[in-house]
């Protein structure tokens, strides 16, 4: 359960910055079978949220068609300094968090 987030540490006020986030997860789609023919149960991340100082700036619903170790890239306007918080929620009670700071000047 390792997260990799990429946020520019500094940005000019009003600049559009790219945020990238990757979470290590098998994303078992629930359609594969073992050699013995048994269906492998689904185990995926279903939801990803990014907040800046508590306000949601991006959210995604994930389905089995998202690759293992789901990667997301999206944009936001640098309006204020603060903390980006990332949250991944999935099957079987999976919850993971990460955070990164940005300084807007």
């Amino acid at each position: 359960m390792a997260a990799l987030v990429n946020v520019p540490p500094k940005a000019k006020r009003g600049a559009v910055v790219e945020i990238k986030a990757l979470m290590s997860h098998i994303m078992e789609p629930g359609y594969r079978r073992t050699a013995a023919g048994e269906l492998i149960p689904r185990d995926i991340i279903t939801s990803f949220t990014c907040r800046l100082n508590g306000a949601e700036i991006f959210r995604a619903d994930l389905f089995p068609a998202i690759s293992a170790n789901p990667f997301m890239s999206f944009f936001t306007i640098a309006t204020e300094s603060g903390k980006f918080e990332f949250e991944w929620i999935g099957d079987n009670g999976f919850v993971a968090n990460a955070a990164a700071n940005i300084t807007v000047e």
């Binding site: 359609y31 594969r32 050699a35 995604a60 068609a65 998202i66 890239s73 999206f74």
Partner: protein, 162 residues
Amino acid sequence: MKRMANMSDISRRHVLQLAGSAALCGGLPIVTVRPAQATPAMLSSAIRNLVGEATVQQGKVKLDIPPLVENGNTVPMTVSVDHPMTETDYVKSIHVFNEKNPQPNIGNFYLTPRAGRAQVATRIRLADSQKVVAIAKLSDGSFWQTSADVIVTLAACTEEVP
């Protein structure tokens, strides 16, 4: 005698099965045991669930995805919408669908006016050569779409686990 006849039946069946799977292997490097696929009908009903009675217009949306992929397990995809992002007029969400995976949804992405740019990128799985559809919902309630055809040589999602 009867027993003999039965055995020859079975072996003929086996031979046919082998021939069948050999033919399948010719096309696909991995033998797939595939459940019912999503169909174009499932795709359109998934889209109908999203847009309701609204008409979906062509344009504005750009779907960047390789036209030919060797491995359907990780297909990079970028969706961008050519539309301003202001407080009153912005892209609310982006939805990606497919035609032939076991289920039609790929992902839903929710944006805010603070996004600055309506663009998301991720990596997806494709179980077969198929059409991928991206739909954007704008703050005025209109829907815009585009689609892309992708040829996949190694299928994802349904392969047998070694």
